[in-house]
C-alpha cells in the first residue's frame, strides 16, 4: 500500500483567493492510482459549500473524475478531513470550489492553474481559463489500492440501467 499525494499544500500563504469560481491547481499532480482518504485546506475567511475533487484532461479542457462535498470550513488554521474516498489516478490535478466572498490562502508564485465560472463537479468536460503563478492551500492524500468496499451482493440486487 503506497501513499498518494496531490495538490500544492494546505499552508498559511501570503495572499488570498475568493470564490465562487472553480480552480484546478497544477502543482503536485497525483503520484498514483487509488482513493484519496483525507483532504486539507487553509482559508483566510470562513467559507461554506466547499467541494474538492480530482480532474483529468489536457491543455485547458478538464473533466472531474470524482469529488467530495466538504461543507463549511473555518478560517485561520489548517482544516483536515478524513474518512473520504475520492477516486484518483496518476497525473490527476486537485481542484476546488467554494462560496462567494470567502477566501482561501493563496501564493502569487507557483505552478499556476485553471479557472472556470462554471461548477465543474460532476459536469463532464469543461474548458478553463489558464492562470499563471498561483498556488492555493488545498492538499489531499490517499492510498493505493482504493480502500472503499462495494459488497457484490448489493450490486446484484440493484440494477443501474447503465449508471455505474
Amino acid at each position: 500500500m503506497a501513499v498518494i499525494d496531490i495538490g500544492p499544500g494546505a499552508i498559511n500563504r501570503t495572499s488570498n483567493q475568493a470564490g465562487p469560481q472553480a480552480f484546478i491547481l497544477k502543482d503536485n499532480p497525483a503520484d498514483g492510482d487509488g482513493s484519496l482518504n483525507s483532504m486539507e485546506f487553509w482559508f483566510v475567511s470562513s467559507t461554506t459549500d466547499l467541494k474538492c475533487g480530482t480532474f483529468y484532461g489536457v491543455t485547458t479542457t478538464w473533466t472531474n473524475r470524482d469529488y467530495e462535498l466538504i461543507g463549511a470550513v473555518t478560517s485561520g488554521s489548517k482544516q483536515t478531513f478524513t474518512g473520504l474516498a475520492c477516486e484518483v489516478e496518476s497525473d490527476d490535478l486537485l481542484g476546488a470550489k467554494w462560496a462567494s466572498y470567502t477566501d482561501m490562502e493563496k501564493s502569487t508564485t507557483g505552478g499556476g492553474g485553471y479557472w472556470s465560472n462554471s461548477d465543474p463537479f460532476g459536469a463532464g468536460a469543461i474548458t478553463y481559463g489558464s492562470i499563471d503563478n498561483i498556488a492555493m492551500s488545498i492538499y489531499a492524500t490517499g492510498t493505493t489500492p482504493a480502500a472503499s468496499v462495494t459488497p457484490s451482493n448489493m450490486l446484484n440486487k440493484f440494477s443501474f440501467h447503465g449508471l455505474m
Binding site: S15, N16, Q17, A18, Q21, N37, S38, S45, S46, T48, D49, T60, D66, Y67, E68, L69, I70, G71, A72, T74, S75, G76, S77, Q79, T80, F81, T82, G83, L84, A85, Y101, D103, K106, T108, W115, N117, F121, G122, A123, Y128, G129, S130, I131, D132, T141, T143, S148, V149, T150, P151, M154, L155, K157, F158, S159, F160, H161, G162, L163, M164
Partner: protein, 213 residues
Amino acid sequence: MKAEIETTGCSVRRGAVQLRISLYLDPSDPRYDEHHVQVPVIPEGENGPEWTGGEPPDENDKGACEKWHKEYRAYIAEQTEWYDSLPKVWQNNPFHNHFVQVSPDITDGEIKKIVSDTLAEFGGEWEKGNDLAQYWNHKPKKKVYAPFKVVKGVEDIVLDGLQKGKTPQEISYLLTNKAIEINQPIADHLTRCAIKGLDIAARKANFEASKWL
C-alpha cells in the same frame, strides 16, 4: 475535547448517509493554540474589493492574457490589503473533521457511539502528537457501508430536492428532466438516505460527545 455533527458536511454518498463529525479542543487540551486563532472580522454587508475581470482569456492571445494577469495581480494586492486592515477576533476551530458512511437504518444509539468513538480515536492520536491525516492513511480500514455508486450529482440532486421541500415524486421528476435514468429501488434508497441525513442533522445536539475520560 468535544465532538459534534457538522450539518453542512452531511450528505448522501455511494448509497450511504455520509455524516461529518467535527472535533474541538478545550483550553486544557494539548496544542490548543494550534486551532484557537485570530481571524479577521468582516463587516456586515462588506465584501472587500470585487473582481470584475471575468475568466482568464484564451492563452494564445498573449496581449489579452498579459493585461488580464496584470489587472488580476492588482486586485489580489488590493484585497490582501483590505483583509490586513480588518480587526481580528479569537475563534476556536475544529482540530479535526472526520466523515463516516452509515446505513439509513442506523439507530440513535449507534450514531452516538460512532461520534464518541471518533472523538476517542482522533483525540487520542492528537494527544500523542500524531498527524491525523497520516494516521488515517496508514490505518488498516474497516469495511465501510457503501452499497453502490451512482452517476455523479444524483445524490446531490436528491438531497438538495428534499432540503427545498420537494416530495420524492418531484425529485424523480427532476432526475427525469435531467435525463438521468434511475430505477425505483435506488431512487427510494437514496431518498431514505437523504431523509435520514436531514433528520440526524436536525437533531445534532442529541449526538454531541465530550472527552472520553
